[in-house]
Amino acid sequence: MQTRIVNIRAAAKAALEEGLCRVVAGYAPGAIAMRARPVFIDKPEDAGKLTWSSFCVGNLAGLLTQAAKQASGRIGVVAQGCVSRNLVGLIGEGRLAREDLYVIGVPCLGMAERRKIEARYPGRAIIAVEESEEVFVVRGKRREERMLRRDALRDNCYTCVQRNPVIYDALVAEPVPDTGGGDIDKVAAPWEKHPPGERLAAFQAAYANCTRCHACRDVCPLCYCSTCFVDESTPQWAGKTGDFADVATYHLLRALHCAGRCTDCGACESACPQNIKVRRLTSKLEKDVRALYGCQAGMALGESPPLTVFRPDDPQDFIK
C-alpha cells in the first residue's frame, strides 16, 4: 500500500509539474478511521496530500464530469480498475474525452467494507486501521487486532473482473491478478432462487430502511443527468414519500438507467447510510446484459453501451 501512495504522489507531482494536467483528482486521508475523502490538487507541492487506502470507496469518475464542465484542460485522476472502466464508459457516452484525461492507474487489491470491520469488533471505537496487502491492523483505544483482507472486502470486490486499470497514463504498482476470484454470476441475482411469490418479501426487506437520501444516485458516476427522473415533477414519475411504492420505483428506475453501464464499483453500497444492498438490482441487470448481449461495461475504449445498440438476432422469446 505504501508503494502505491508514494507512486501516486510522484505521478501526480510529475504530471502537474510537466503540465500534463491542470488538476489531479485523488484521495486524501479521511477525518476519521476507515474513510478517505476525494480531493482536487492543482499544485505539485500539494501532491503529498494524496493518499491511497482500501477505504477509497467512492468513485472519482463521477466528480470528473462535474470538474470537466467547470473548466477546460486536462484532468488527472487516480483510478483503480472499476473507476477506469467508468472513465471508459463516460468517454463512450461523450461525457469525457480520453485526451482530456491523465489517468494515474492503481492496480487494486480490493476495497474494504468498513461495516464488516466494525461488526468484527462490536462496541469498540476503532481509532485507526492500517493495512498491508494481506491484513488490516485495527487499532482501538487499548487493543490492536488483525483482520485478514479477504474477510473485510466489499461484496463487489470478491467478484471484481478488472482490478487493473483498463486505461492509464501512469501505473503506480505492478499489475495484480485481474479478478477478485469470485464468480459474479453465482451471486449477482440472489432472489432468483426464491419462488416468484417470495421475491417481494426479499425486495421489501432489502429496501425497508431507505430514506430516499439519494446518496446511491449522487455517488454514482453514471448518474449525470441534469435533472434526474426522480426530481421531475410534470409528470412525477416517483413520488416524494418514503412509501414502498415510491422507494421501489426510485430504485427500479435508477437500476434500469444504469443497465449495461454499471461497472459494479460498489460506490452506491458504500455510500448508503442505511447499509442497503443497493447492488441487488444493478448486479441482476448486469448479469442479464452479460448473458444476453455478451457485454461488460467499460472494458474497452470504442465499444458502444449495449443499450444504445442492437443485434438483429437479439433474444426476443417473450415477444408475441
Binding site: G30, A31, I32, A33, R35, A36, R37, P38, V39, F40, G58, G62, L63, A67, R115, E118, A119, P122, G123, A125, I127, A205, N209, T211, R212, C213, H214, A215, R217, D218, V219, D231, S233, G239, K240, T241, G242, D243, A267, S270, A271, P273, Q274, N275, I276
Partner: protein, 366 residues
C-alpha cells in the same frame, strides 16, 4: 429531583410491565447490523439499551417528525357538496422511547423551538414557542412521546456534543435520564411524565448518585476538545457567505441527502398534494437543502442554484441562522453526518474553517 435504581437483570421485566400500558421502543440490532428503535415486543431479549457504535443509526427524530406524514385527506364525492377535507388523526396512545441519547433528546428540544410545543402535561393547551407559530402535528406527536434518555459513558471519536451546548449526560428534552452504573441503571426523573414510569422502582442511594457523577465527569473528559466559534457569532451572515471554504466543499460534496437525513436536527420538509381520481392527500415529506429541487421556484429560477449555495446552506443554517434566531446552535454534535458522508466532509472541520476564515474585524471597520 428523584432518582431510582433498576437492576439490569430486571430490565426486561420492567419494560414488559411498561409495555402493558404504553408502546415502548428500545434500541435493537437489525438483521442488517444497524441499530434502530423497535417496539420492545419485537426486540430479542435480553434487552440491551446501548447500541454498538454508540448510538442508533438514525436519530429518534422520525417518531415526532415522520419521513412521510399525512396532514390531511380530501375527496370530491358527488352529491355531498363538493370538496371534503378531513384532518388526519394523529396516532392515539403514548409511546416511550427508552435509551435515547442526550444529544438526540437535545435535538428534539432544539426543534421544539422551531415547531413549537404544548406546555408539558397539558395536552389540550395552546401550542407556543415555535419560530413560525405553531405546528400542531409536531406538538401532538411530541406530547405523545415520552423520552427516557441513556447517558453516554463512552462518547465516540465522532462525538462533539459538549461543543454544541449539550453533553454525554445532558438532560434537556428528556423526561428521565438513565445512567448505566454497570450492574444497574440509575433512573433520574426529570419531568412529571417521567415520574409515572418509575412508580415501582426502589430509590437510589447517595453512592449511586456519586457514581453517576463520576461517570459524567469521566465521559466529558473523553470528548476530544472544543474549538472556537466566536468569530462565526460575531461576523455577519454576508461576510460568512463569502468564505473560500465553501468552494472547496462544493468541489467534492455530492449534494446527496445522507447528512441531512441522518441528522437529528435537520427538519426541512416539502409539502405536496397527491391526487388520484377524486381523492387526494396532503403530505409532509423530509426534504433536504442539498437538493436543488428543494428551493427551485415554479418559474424555474433557483435561489440556491448551485452546489456551493446548497452545501453552504446546511452549515450556515446550523451554525449561523439558528444561533442568531434562537441563541443556540442548530447542531447537537451527535456526529452521524461525519460517519454518513460518502465524501467524508467533517462538520467539525467545516466549523473550524468557518471560524478561522471569518474576517477578524467586521467588514468596513477601519
Amino acid at each position: 429531583m428523584q432518582s431510582y435504581l433498576l437492576a439490569k437483570d430486571r430490565l426486561d421485566g420492567f419494560v414488559s410491565r411498561l409495555a402493558d400500558r404504553l408502546t415502548v421502543y428500545v434500541p435493537a440490532k437489525g438483521a442488517d447490523g444497524l441499530w434502530s428503535f423497535v417496539a420492545s415486543g419485537s426486540a430479542q431479549p435480553p434487552l440491551a439499551l446501548t447500541p454498538e457504535g454508540g448510538n442508533t443509526n438514525m436519530p429518534p427524530k422520525s417518531f415526532v417528525f415522520p419521513r412521510t406524514e399525512v396532514l390531511m385527506r380530501f375527496d370530491n364525492r358527488a352529491g355531498e357538496g363538493g370538496m371534503i377535507l378531513r384532518e388526519e388523526p394523529v396516532p392515539a396512545g403514548r409511546a416511550v422511547l427508552l435509551g435515547v441519547r442526550p444529544c438526540d433528546a437535545k435535538a428534539l428540544a432544539v426543534l421544539d423551538g422551531i415547531f413549537g410545543r404544548r406546555a408539558s402535561g397539558d395536552a389540550s393547551g395552546e401550542v407556543s414557542g415555535g419560530a413560525f407559530g405553531a405546528d400542531p402535528y409536531w406538538a401532538a406527536r411530541r406530547e405523545a412521546t415520552i423520552l427516557c434518555g441513556l447517558a453516554c459513558n463512552y462518547p465516540c471519536p465522532t462525538c462533539f456534543c459538549d461543543q454544541m451546548g449539550c453533553g454525554p449526560h445532558h438532560r434537556e428534552g428528556l423526561d428521565a435520564l438513565w445512567t448505566d452504573l454497570g450492574e444497574s441503571y440509575l433512573v433520574t426523573i426529570l419531568t412529571e411524565r417521567g415520574r409515572e414510569l418509575a412508580s415501582d422502582l426502589a430509590p437510589a442511594a447517595q453512592a449511586d448518585l456519586n457514581r453517576a457523577e463520576s461517570l459524567k465527569a469521566e465521559a466529558a473528559s473523553l470528548l476530544t476538545g472544543k474549538f472556537p466559534m466566536d468569530k462565526i457569532a460575531q461576523r455577519g451572515v454576508l461576510e460568512l457567505c463569502e468564505l473560500p471554504l465553501w468552494a472547496e466543499l462544493a468541489a467534492t460534496c455530492l449534494n446527496c441527502g445522507a447528512c441531512t437525513h441522518v441528522c437529528p436536527t435537520c427538519h426541512c420538509f416539502d409539502i405536496q398534494d397527491e391526487v388520484k381520481g377524486e381523492r387526494g392527500r396532503r403530505l409532509r415529506n423530509w426534504d433536504t437543502c442539498m437538493s436543488g429541487l428543494f428551493t427551485r421556484h415554479a418559474s424555474g429560477h433557483n435561489p440556491r442554484g448551485d452546489k456551493l449555495a446548497r452545501v453552504r446552506q446546511r452549515f450556515m443554517h446550523k451554525f449561523k441562522y439558528i444561533p442568531v434566531k434562537r441563541g443556540e446552535a442548530g447542531c447537537v454534535g451527535c456526529g452521524r453526518c461525519i460517519k454518513a458522508c460518502p465524501v467524508n466532509i467533517d462538520v467539525r472541520e467545516v466549523v473550524r474553517a468557518m471560524n478561522e476564515q471569518a474576517p477578524q474585524t467586521p467588514e468596513g471597520a477601519a
